[in-house]
Symmetry: C2
Subunit: 261 residues, 2 copies
DNA sequence: CACAAAGGGTTCAAATAATGAACCAGAGGT
DNA sequence: ACCTCTGGTTCATTATTTGAACCCTTTGTG
């Protein structure tokens, strides 16, 4: 692992529930030497990717990230285009909807919305990267994203997030093949206990899926009616998202989706 | 300069007018060896900070930046809080207003708004870092930000953006001292020709200024009336911005501002 | 009040990882 | 068929990163 990766990984430890991190905590989180972490933090901070709270000495994400995000949004305004569609679908279904983009061999949440009309709801952390083999989004990406994802993923043993996570390579392959045929992925409690979800791919200017759209529902609330409604609604919404991103749904998937609707 | 800084600097070459950059172009922009640049690009991409267009082979900013920006906004929602205030002031004055945050020894635009009611207008690039000695924002930051900024800045010769840029250290010191007394910075064509601007500091949870708010006006349109109106309006708006950021204006500056209004 | 504990930060020899000149490969262009 | 411009790779050399040990300050405690 190169120096750059080590440093950038430090940024991944931040999350809404973990906004400020101190040197010692970084050391335990990253497992690297204190001096190493410190120099990385200093360098990230001097580039504006972090800033230090002079009172607590803790580090938090810096303004450079906002600046770059503004540039990225300007030339590829995914978030602002997609957010309204996510919100509408979440309101229609009354459940949590999220769109994520592929980031290497994970999925990175782009935006999400929860209707908040129920007492129980799915917790969704926008800072957390989603694994490909444990989430419905991930299966959709494996099924319709770049081919190398599956082989890269199987290079290491599959990590179990819950007791229901698919960890057998052959089972994963079979599941992904079924997703390719059905056009929609479904996973029951593969990533979080008591959460079931549907996922479909969304496409950018390439042939392969660039991201996914998914609905996550507390398993207790997943009725047969929802199981019928969600895939149909997802397919429709994902088609719109794909259009907003300036992409096209591949013809063979479009046929599958038409039959499903 | 460490490896991390070299890699992160590559990200700074992106701008709305320059959304995708190839290997060779990166080489000339950064002045580093092709192999070095390439390895850095690969590593940035594998962390999601860049993504490669498989058709053109060019690189563009990646989804990781959006994810981190979402986290940062969640716990320090500067942009979403400040944007409405910027928009209101821009509409009131009919001129371009921007808020920037300090990023090392530069200012990083956070958000801006232009009333767009005039034929001529100031061009403002959100991707461009603002120098401290050439902009009104920068003077405000030098005057009310951390003390070390001035000495760090004077370590190297001052670069001239235009023929009017202050490049003499003593003149800069005198100018900044005047800003500290008056509470508002003014610069005439110091950064861009035919653009004059006023700047004031905004404060976060620290004693020192964390950013600035500024109004930029085409010099030809800078009437005496505007020169009276802008500082008063800026002071009022910057006070609000400071409150939104959870900060407080230092007492001595508050007194100066009260007299000015 | 002394003292321990814990967090942030620094040092410098040792070792690892970054570097860059040279090289390869493919896509246009002439 | 040849040139050239692009992206990408190799490997010995070199310089940068590394980490155990150390220092400083704050905080809590007998």
């Amino acid at each position: 692992m190169g120096t750059i990766t080590k440093a950038l990984n430090l940024l991944n430890f931040f999350s809404p529930s973990h906004p400020e991190i101190g040197l010692t905590e970084f050391r335990t989180l990253s497992g690297q030497d204190k001096a190493t972490v410190h120099r990385h933090l200093i360098e990230l901070a001097s580039n504006g990717f972090l800033e230090q709270n002079p009172v607590t000495k803790g580090y938090r994400l810096g303004p450079a990230i906002l600046r770059l995000a503004a540039v990225r949004e300007r030339l590829f305004p995914a978030r602002s285009l997609v957010a309204p569609l996510v919100e509408r679908l979440a309101t229609d279904l009354g459940e949590l909807v999220h769109v994520s983009l592929r980031e290497g061999d994970h999925l990175s949440p782009l935006c999400h919305h929860d209707a908040l009309i129920h007492g129980t709801r799915v917790y969704f952390d926008e800072a957390e990267l989603l694994p490909l083999h444990a989430t419905a989004s991930g299966l959709a990406m494996l099924a319709f994203g770049p081919d190398h994802l599956m082989s890269d993923l199987l290079a290491d043993p599959l990590e179990a997030s819950t007791q229901y996570t698919i960890t057998d390579p052959d089972e994963l392959k079979r599941t992904v093949e079924r997703v390719q045929v059905e056009g929609v992925a479904f996973i029951d409690q593969g990533f979080e206990l008591h959460v079931s979800s549907f996922g479909v791919p969304v496409f950018g200017d390439l042939k392969e899926a660039v991201g996914t759209m998914a609905v996550a529902v507390p398993t207790a609330r997943m009725t047969d009616e929802l199981k019928r409604k969600i895939p149909v609604a997802l397919i429709e919404a994902a088609t719109e998202v794909t259009e907003e991103l300036g992409g096209t749904v591949p013809p063979h998937l479009r046929r599958i989706w038409l039959n499903a609707a």
